[in-house]
Symmetry: C3
Amino acid sequence: MIKKIQVATSGQGLYEITHRVESLLAESKNKEGLCSLFVRHTSCSLIIQENADPSARIDLENWMNRLVPENDALYTHTFEGQDDMPAHIKSVLTATQLSIPFEDGKLLSGTWQGIFLWEHRHAAHCRDIVLHFI
Amino acid sequence: MIKKIQVATSGQGLYEITHRVESLLAESKNKEGLCSLFVRHTSCSLIIQENADPSARIDLENWMNRLVPENDALYTHTFEGQDDMPAHIKSVLTATQLSIPFEDGKLLSGTWQGIFLWEHRHAAHCRDIVLHFI
Amino acid sequence: MIKKIQVATSGQGLYEITHRVESLLAESKNKEGLCSLFVRHTSCSLIIQENADPSARIDLENWMNRLVPENDALYTHTFEGQDDMPAHIKSVLTATQLSIPFEDGKLLSGTWQGIFLWEHRHAAHCRDIVLHFI
C-alpha cells in the first residue's frame, strides 16, 4: 500500500514526521510488516535520530554545516544558490530512504528514535515523501 | 521477484542505471510495490542524485575525493592499492542498498532523481547489482 | 516475519552478525525475498563491509574517529559523555537499516561482504536489532 505525504519546510532544519508515519500506519490497518519511506528530492534527507534532547539535533546540524560549508571554492554547480551543492552532498552522506519494521500495528523503532525530514535548503519548500507498507 | 544486472565500469565515476531499473520493472509487470537494489561490493555505492546537470555530479565526486583522499598516512590496508581503502570508506558513507516505491508500473522517484552506481576504484570492474520487486 | 536479536557490545568496534542473520534466514524457511535489518538505537550503526581483512575495518574506524572526534568544541550535547554526540553523528553518516535480497534460502550479499553492528559508544551496551523477512 502506497501513501503520500508532504512536508512544508521553512529553511534548514530537522522536521519530525514520526507521528504522521504512525498515523498512516494505524489507518492502513496493517499489523506486521515493513514501512518504507522515500523522499523524492536530492536536496533533503530522511534520517532517524534522537528525538529527546533538541541539543543533539542542533549539534548534528552545526557539525554537518561545518563539514559541508557553503561558498566552497570547489563548487562549480552554483547557479541554484550557494546552499544547493552542499544540500546534494548532505543528501548523499545521509539517506533518501528508510525501512522500519512494525508489529502489532506499531513501528519497532526504539524509544529514542524519531523519524525526521532534514531540509538542507534555506528557502521554503514542499517536500514529497512516499510511504510503502507491506 | 529477483533480477540481476551487471554494470561495467571503467574508472571512478557515477554510472546512471535508472533506465535499466525502469526496464526491468516494466518487464516484471508489477504495478505497485517496492523496488530494492543491492550492490554486491564494498568498494562502490548505490546513490540517488540529481540527473539533470552533470556539474552537480562532478562537484560531488571532487568533494568526496577531497574528504577521503588517497595516500592518507592513516591507512594500513593498502596492499590492494591506494584507491582501495578510500573506496571502502566512501561505500560506508553512502549506500549499498536503495528501496524505491513504484505505482502504476513506474518508479515514484522524483523528477530530478537518477539512480547511479558510484564506482570508487580506478581499474575497470564488473559490478553486480541485485534487484528485488515486491 | 519478524525476528529480534540482541548484540552485546563491549566498547567501540565492528561486531559481525552475518552468521546470525544467515541462521535466522535458514530457520525462517523463506526461499526468496528481502531481509531487512533495523537497529533500534541512534548511537550505533548497521553496515556492510569487507569481512576478509581486519585491517580494512581498523582503518575505517580510525578514519571515522578522526572525522568525528570527541572533545569537539562544537558539541553542546555532552551530558551523556564525550562519545555520545560523535556516536549520533556517525549513526547519521552510516546506516540504521539495511535490506538484503535472498534466493534459494541464501543472502545474495557478495563474497566479501559481511554484516556488522558498528558500536560507537565506549561503555558496554546491549543492542536490539529487528529482522524482517518477506
